[in-house]
């Protein structure tokens, strides 16, 4: 035996892709990940602030659901995040990385705000609302359609394209913020129609956010049905899983890409409408507030299932609201919530590995694969 070859190269363990995993096991892994994340975040809280983590978490829960008003705010927050998450989902299912939801929603909001500014005294409130809905949806859809066309036609990288579209949308909002700023030159529009409330979503049962929540709940179910039970949704799945199969059964892949991105953008437009007409009653560059990016995590963590997305967005908004409570209670900075959210997401993302792969310890097998 040649001496140089006598040393074995075999690793102690190797990683293989799992064929499948029982549901309870995957849920257990995820729950374990969240628990581990909470422990790490707790320890971090203790070392950074010297506070008792249990107290902190108790405050957090209280801050998120402690009063009726807080619960309403929590659900309003979930509604906004969930709406954007719903929007990105059809595109992601198709493996089209639309990270431009921020911009698409902003364009939808901008359209609604401009309608409110320009047509409040020209159109009747009902007609105005209709115009707002249509322009918001169209603006969001157009903002998504542009990168989709280039993707379908020239295979232009959609991740980078949609990312850049976000900032163009931001600057457009900035432009109009100056153009219609109140007072002139301040760079902010201020509450539109604060006295007449024209173009505002009406309160239902005296709850100003209830309509938003209802719209998003309906959207969630519509999207669930669309993805799971409609022919379009089926085509999206096939294109996302395998373009080869799509061609085999005669699906026009380009058409599906464009159609789906229009839908994605249109729902973003609705999200923007809700943010402007149903929440802020104004438009600013931070109206969407990073939800376009958070939505990507929400959708991905929920495996693109709209119903599951309710849970993931609940988790994130809960953390956010809770952390804001901590910061005021313990006199901490509100950005603390981003740190905790980040840690929890890292753990959940990392735990996916243990769901998709399993680690096999080698016995003294001789097979050495190298491809």
């Amino acid at each position: 035996m040649s001496k140089s070859a006598s040393k074995s190269h075999e690793p102690l363990f190797h990683v293989v892709k799992r064929a499948s995993i029982p549901l309870w096991q995957s849920l257990l892994i995820r729950a374990g990940a969240i628990l581990a994340a909470l422990i790490v975040a707790g320890l971090l809280t203790f070392f950074l602030t010297g506070l008792n983590p249990i107290d902190v978490y108790a405050t957090m829960i209280d801050g998120a659901i402690g009063t009726e008003k807080r619960i309403w705010n929590l659900f309003q927050g979930i509604a906004l995040l969930l709406c954007v998450s719903l929007a990105v989902t059809p595109a992601f299912k198709m493996k089209f990385w639309n990270i431009g939801a921020e911009g698409q929603a902003l364009m939808g909001g901008l359209a609604a705000a401009l309608c409110m500014i320009l047509y409040s005294d020209k159109l009747s409130p009902a007609v105005l609302m209709l115009v707002m809905v249509v322009t918001s949806v169209v603006s969001g859809a157009v903002w998504a359609l542009i990168p989709a066309i280039f993707k379908a036609k020239w295979n232009t990288n959609e991740t980078l394209f949609t990312l850049m579209m976000n900032y163009i949308a931001t600057q457009l909002v900035s432009y109009f913020s100056y153009k219609y700023s109140v007072p002139k030159g301040s760079g902010s529009i201020g509450i539109i129609n604060s006295s007449t409330k024209i173009g505002w979503f009406p309160s239902i049962l005296d709850q100003k956010y209830l309509l938003n929540i209802i719209i998003v709940v309906i959207l969630t179910f519509i999207l669930y049905v669309y993805l799971k039970h409609s022919k379009h949704g089926y085509e999206i799945s096939v294109v996302g899983e395998s373009e080869n199969t799509a061609k085999y059964i005669g699906i026009n892949v380009k058409k599906v890409i464009i159609r789906t991105m229009i839908l994605s953008g249109a729902i973003c437009g609705i999200a923007g409408l809700i943010m402007v007409a149903g929440t802020d009653h104004t438009i600013a560059t931070d109206t969407v507030g990073g939800r376009g990016f958070t939505a990507i995590m929400v959708s991905w963590l929920a495996k693109f299932n709209p119903i599951m997305m309710f849970l993931t967005s609940f988790l994130i908004v809960f953390l956010e609201k809770g952390a804001i409570a901590i910061s005021s209670e313990f006199d901490l900075n509100s950005s603390f919530s981003d740190i905790i959210t980040g840690i929890i997401i890292f753990f959940i993302i990392g735990s996916e590995f243990f769901i998709n792969y399993s680690i096999k310890f080698r016995e003294s097998k001789k097979e050495a694969k190298s491809k």
């Binding site: 070859a5 006598s6 190298s370």
Partner: protein, 511 residues
């Protein structure tokens, strides 16, 4: 001559229950070209992968220059100056030839592309290659890419070269050039192993030929002392009785008529060359040929997935009596014309089915468009799924199990079951029993026979000649995109088909 460069003794390799190589012995001398001949699945590539360090043998010994060695990785193989040129090139597209050749080298002195380029030019001059070292891979033809792969191996100082079907992708002129180069390398003392199943190449190039059949080593002969018919017999072996029932169907009208179709790919390589034949209703037409002879392109062009350069695909509709030309029509369009065409592609999970979807949703692939509603109708697909599971004895936890979790045989039952369910008039199947156990294979044969009895025109692309002869009514043999012969299955022999498969020029058009 006569010093062994590499010797294999009793090499055995199994993958689970499948024996890929059994007690193979082989010797290659310095300054010699050895051909390894065998059909698809005879274990040629597995054997070579063990020499190049990709697999490790279960039993047996390898000797290099008379010394026993262990080859555990491609790195070890390099150490023993063994270089393998794979069928699928491992090159970085945007790099130049030189960059690809020096990639991964660590002990090559200072990094200096100019110096490397000079060394490459020396190698090309020595053996008579034609290659511009600064040319980018993506600007190259297939044969240039192959040259890069060969030089990559020579650059690392290989003395033993293994080429896995090097001519499969080359034009005749390029093949000629390659052979000239290989002869020069032999004359400079290198040991060369070439895997092929083209007989004429074996005869014109090699000094000796070793034959493998179904993983077993059959023997080695000197090229000068052998003939095509002897090699064919060694390669295909004696006929094995399979007892597949062949039913006779009386009335067989023409169903599909292929007229002079040709297809050239983007690189300018001819995939289909002037192919004409007729598929009859109530008949199984077998297609035999070495892998990559144009089988896939032929089926895909009939299914509407492959653009053609010329020719016609005529379908005689039995219900309307009309004749439709299907050429360049999309699968949807073909269906709209009322053509009931079913296709079981070679790539089951990558094309025919969606691995992550359950059996029901995979049934939907063919039928989801049905009806005017915007929504899916899952009732019938569910019934169909359950029917297939029951009738074809698909082993699965339920109809809601993702198909990628099923075993190969069950995946194929699901796919064939779905394609048959639409009661086709034309059924095309590509390698339907590949990777299947005996029972599943027979189940598939029976299904195909039943389709034939029902008056379906079945087109069966296969690789096992015994099966083709017993199952099919006629067998069409193609080679390099051309028809080399159409034979009557009852009156043919394996040798005849084997010769047609490797025949170089079947210029005349058959019908």
């Amino acid at each position: 001559m006569g010093t062994p460069a590499i010797e294999l003794k009793n090499i055995t390799k199994t993958f689970g229950p499948i024996v890929a190589n059994k007690d193979v012995c082989l010797t290659v001398n310095k300054g010699e070209i050895l051909s390894i001949l065998g059909e698809n699945g005879s274990g040629k590539t597995t054997l070579m992968n063990m020499i190049s360090g990709i697999y490790f043998p279960d039993h047996g010994q390898i000797f290099i220059n008379g010394e026993e060695v262990l080859i555990r990785s491609p790195k070890d193989a390099f150490k023993y100056k063994i270089g393998m040129i794979h069928q699928h090139f491992k090159l970085v597209d945007v790099f130049s030839a030189t960059e690809n050749i020096v990639l991964g080298l660590k002990d090559d002195g200072k990094y200096n592309l100019k110096a490397s380029e000079k060394k490459i030019r020396e190698i090309t001059a020595q053996y008579g290659f034609e290659l511009e070292p600064s040319k980018k891979i993506h600007e190259m033809s297939v044969s240039e890419k192959q040259t890069v792969e060969i030089i990559k191996v020579l650059y690392r100082g290989a003395d033993i070269l293994i080429l896995d079907e090097p001519t499969a992708v080359l034009t005749p002129q390029e093949t000629k050039k390659l052979f000239a180069v290989l002869r020069k390398m032999r004359d400079s003392g290198k040991a060369i192993i070439i895997i092929t199943h083209k007989l004429h190449e074996v005869l014109s190039l090699s000094d000796r030929v070793s034959v493998l059949r179904k993983g077993e080593y059959i023997g080695t002969v000197n090229t000068a002392e052998t003939s095509e018919s002897e090699l064919t017999e060694m390669m295909v072996g004696k006929k094995i009785e399979l007892n597949i029932e062949r039913t006779k169907v009386e009335e067989t009208p023409d169903r599909l008529e292929i007229r002079k179709i040709s297809c050239v790919n983007r690189e300018g390589i001819t995939l289909l060359n002037n192919i004409s034949f007729t598929a009859k209703a109530g008949e199984i037409l077998g297609i035999a040929g070495i892998a990559g002879s144009g089988q896939r392109e032929l089926l895909e062009s009939i299914a509407g997935l492959q653009k053609l350069n010329s020719g016609e695909i005529l379908y005689h509709n039995p219900t309307t009596g009309y004749t439709e030309n299907l050429r360049d029509k999309s699968p949807v369009k073909i269906k709209e014309l009322g053509v009931r065409l079913s296709f079981v592609p070679e790539d089951r999970l990558g094309m025919g089915l969606v691995g992550n979807m359950d059996i029901i949703d995979n049934m939907l692939l063919r039928s989801y468009r049905r009806g005017k509603s915007a929504f899916l109708e899952r009732k019938k697909p569910k019934d169909l799924a359950n029917k297939i599971i029951e009738e074809l004895e698909v082993v699965t936890p339920s109809a809601k199990t993702p198909v990628r979790r099923l075993s190969g045989g069950n995946v194929q039952k699901v796919l064939v079951g779905r394609e048959i369910a639409s009661s086709p008039t034309v059924l095309m199947v590509a390698y339907p029993v590949r990777g299947l156990d005996i029972n599943s294979s027979y189940l598939i044969y029976n299904l195909l026979n039943k389709q034939k009895e029902n008056g379906v025109a079945v087109i069966f692309v296969g690789e096992d000649l015994d099966v083709l002869i017993e199952l099919c009514d006629r067998i069409m043999v193609i080679n390099s995109g051309k028809i080399t012969g159409i034979v009557d299955a009852e009156n043919t022999t394996k040798e005849e088909i084997g010769l047609l498969m490797t025949k170089n020029d079947g210029g005349e058009s058959h019908e």
